[in-house]
Symmetry: C2
Subunit: 113 residues, 2 copies
DNA sequence: CTGCATCCCAAAGGATACTG
DNA sequence: CAGTATCCTTTGGGATGCAG
């Protein structure tokens, strides 16, 4: 695992926890109702199952996500944002808002949404 | 350059603009008074000049940073956050706050600060 | 002081196929 | 439905030295 015990800078920790191509996107989708593996795959069509499970595991191991087994047969699992870190919600949304503003000012298309 | 003209997801754009190991840290330091190349090197001792200039250039090319030549001889350059994107300030600080909270709850040391 | 050029490597991420 | 296993490619980033 990659989270250290000591950091000399808060933002280094943030990047270890939330950096990379997928984690913020996954969080956004979980916050918007895609709380199952299959729903996340539909919501993020360009992610492979390997990358999805890898990122989910890392987020779970760092206590940011909570994984709940709803039923065993058939296997049914639910992912939710840990209650401790609801503070991430405004950050995820803040990035979305920033991107929208940026796209508008720089002539970039953001597809549907 | 890596910024596309079309994105299917706002967070993809955010990650292209601000992702990676250094950009948020550099922004934090610029927001806290380290507005010169040499000041940034002092404030971020673990960055190489190559990485610093690379990241500064990308942030400048995406209009997030403004580069101002203060004097030619000796060369003196100033980096500032573009007025258009002051909205990034609460995001940078939000990450810092999140890290501090997270570190406390998970027994992680954040060095001095 | 600010910045560029090489060379290099580890790690992040992708393709594809398969499993309980 | 929710994952795993391999193999492979790309790229972000580091080391070092040089330049205007």
């Amino acid at each position: 695992m990659k989270i250290q015990e000591n950091y000399t800078c808060a933002l280094l920790l943030s990047m270890d926890l939330l950096g990379g191509k997928w984690k913020m996107r996954i969080l956004w989708h979980i916050l918007n109702g895609d709380n199952r593996f299959s729903l996340l795959q539909k919501g993020i069509p360009d992610i492979t199952s390997k990358m999805l499970i890898t990122q989910l595991k890392e987020l779970e191991q760092s206590n940011i996500l909570t994984r709940t087994v709803v039923s065993e047969k058939p296997l049914n699992v639910e992912y939710t944002l840990s209650t401790d870190y609801k503070g991430l919600i405004p950050l995820v949304e803040g990035f979305c808002d920033f991107s929208k503003e940026y796209a508008q000012q720089n002539g970039i298309s953001l597809g549907d949404l």
